[in-house]
Symmetry: none
């Protein structure tokens, strides 16, 4: 089923207003196992809109359109489509009464231009709007475009959602038939290209599934879609065996959620000592509801003084090994673990750039990670490319994943 | 100038990933007095992409396209466009060297599929990418499409922004004609509607300017555009007088940049003790290059134990006043200031939700802020609406702005 989304409004092409309707609609479609094949935002221009409708009627079976149903001069969605479909506009007495009642309830006079909203094109079904004045419209198999469905919805999110949920989605559900299922696997500390190469044989073996690989800084998602749950299950089992400890989890959970749930389930706690990531790891953990069950807190140890005062690092060690070093990172992890009495501690030092570090010992992109736990302390060192924000984000993900791997034993 | 934006990637049609690139690009266009006339998101389908390119070449003079330049099987933007333009692909030795160097710096073997990124269509200009492996491409007046310009950019925001800023925008600027100047004023701790009401008379007085008000969580930007710098200057002077201490600054600097620059200029330092914001304030400060000149670090004091151990809060006070209280926040600020020997300290406690806090004393959305400095400690309490992430973000902005105002004296 080819479904297309059209959002109308010049403001959607600027930074004034971002189209959130289509994201909400995409979620509703996903719940039915459906997806848009295209999303377009277009300005308040009759000519542009006419072209877009003609294209969409050509390529899509189901067209969802939001915006341009209001009472003002720059609202003409209905008029443009009615002209394309050769449908004359006539006033609908029920809709007119609804609009008049709406204003009576508000105790306000009805501006005359609101009467425009009571005009309905011949052949269209009215989607009555109990939460606003703009009714939606729905066409099924219009004369010149058999097999096409078109829903025109208001742009106001609250009204759009109401009409979609109660009047459009039930009709789409009937059309959709079999739902599509999704398998999502989150992988840590592996590059996108490396993951692709490594999983090529299994993706070919399960070639009937629809595969996607998505990388963000330090994490990769491997996604498969299919109408057959059994085929997804088989692929999942094969990939679990292939990926082993590299697999963070299956499903929608993030690395942070996975880690916090694992800690809470084991009744264990975590403390942090962050230099180069400067609180980023702490803020990513504390963004998760209920993080405080396992996350005790920690220290942001930007200055040498903070390293000694908050994480009990020996000033002599800072001097001999340097603030950006494996030894310092190890001492930070052990220091904060002892100080807060946590089961685990994670520490990070490094140089995120843009300049060389003051001591001159660590090139931009260097990071040292340390995990301290019940059986001792382990360390890792890496070098990451990119700008400050990218280096910090990647380091944070690798650090959390290092902890996750260490907890696996 | 008809400018069109195309975003490529199946994930952009779902809720997995939202296209933020086009919003950023719209802002850059606005600064030049330009706007998109259409924005489209399309999935990883060669056929869909081919149709979209053909339509766009027909209707638009400047096409900006993001995504699909990666090394994997579902990246084929370049190939599809090259086919339309009848341009054979050839390996570019410079690009190949750049990619090989990129992997050498990482100290990782280069996966063979990355070589795909070194293929360049005949007639295209390479936009060298110093922050990733995918070079951008630029066409000017391709043979069959005179008067058209096409920029292909990577989908990774960081890489896209870099190539746009340094290699595409200068070319567009030449085309665009008379520049539009922008005045941006950043305002803290004032609501969007309140700011709108308060500035109505001045916006009317300077009615020839094009005005926008943009709110993000806890901060509001007031933006004016005009081809006349003198008119913008006059508006700036009037608004500076009206806004007084509410004005964080004029220009592109963020609240964090403004604050860190002010601290560094005064030779002063800052320490933090964050409970409810869990490291968010620290990470926002440490995202700024050179933050360590003024930001010493601090404590993320999620647990009561962390509050006493890392910020020296008296356990008896925690018991009597509660962990979410003005008194505890004051003690946290004073404790961390003494401990790290900083000029200023900022502390936050509160309940970001979603549930009530364990002690039951603080409703969701409550926050207490404390700033401790050379002349003593000041506190503020607020109640913010919204979900956890919104409450944390708003609290972080208000806390940093409270420090800024306190530093003004």
């Amino acid at each position: 089923l080819r479904i297309e989304c059209i959002a109308i409004g010049t403001e959607l092409l600027t930074t004034t207003r971002v189209d959130t309707n289509s994201v909400w609609l995409a979620q509703r479609l996903a719940d039915l196992g459906l997806a848009f094949h295209r999303k377009t935002a277009v300005g308040d221009s009759r000519e542009d809109l006419r072209h877009l409708f003609l294209e969409a009627l050509h390529r899509s079976e189901f067209i969802v359109c939001t915006g341009g149903l209001g009472p003002t001069f720059d609202d003409f969605t209905k008029e443009v489509l009615a002209e394309i479909l050769g449908a004359p506009l006539e006033e609908d007495p029920t809709v007119r009464r609804e609009i008049e009642t709406f204003f009576k309830t508000l105790n306000r006079p009805m501006p005359l231009n609101n009467l425009k909203q009571a005009l309905v094109p011949a052949g269209a079904m009215v989607l009555h709007n109990p939460v606003g004045t703009a009714p939606g419209l729905y066409w099924e198999n219009p004369e010149d475009y058999p097999g096409r469905r078109i829903a025109l919805l208001p742009g106001v999110p609250r009204e759009m959602k109401h009409l979609w949920e109660y009047q459009v989605e039930p009709r789409l559900r009937e059309l959709a038939g079999r739902p599509i299922h999704t398998l999502r696997m989150l992988v840590g500390s592996v590059g996108e290209s490396a993951l692709e190469e490594r999983t090529t044989p299994l993706r070919q073996k399960h070639g009937r599934l629809d595969w996607t690989i998505l990388a963000s800084l330090g994490l990769v998602e491997l996604i498969a879609r299919s109408p057959e749950p059994a085929e997804l299950d088989a692929a999942r089992r094969d990939l679990e065996a292939e990926l082993g400890a590299d697999l963070i989890g299956v499903g929608s959970a993030s690395l942070e959620e996975t880690l916090l749930a694992k800690l809470a389930a084991r009744g264990e706690t975590l403390a942090l000592a962050e230099s180069m990531t400067g609180g980023l790891i702490a803020s990513r953990l504390s963004a998760i509801p209920g993080a405080s069950r396992a996350f005790l807190g920690g220290a942001v140890v930007y200055s040498p003084g903070a390293k000694t005062t908050l994480s009990d690092v020996d000033p002599a060690l800072l001097h001999s090994a340097g603030t950006v070093s494996e030894a310092c990172t190890r001492a930070l992890a052990e220091g904060i673990r002892t100080k807060l009495g946590s089961t685990w501690a994670l520490a990070v030092t490094g140089n995120a750039g843009p300049g060389e570090d003051p001591a001159g010992s660590a090139p931009v992109g260097t990071c040292h990670l340390a995990v301290s736990g019940p059986t001792g302390t382990r360390t890792q060192s890496h070098h990451f490319p990119g700008e400050r924000a990218a280096v910090q984000a990647r380091t944070a993900s690798w650090a959390l994943d290092f902890l996750r791997r260490t907890m696996l034993g």
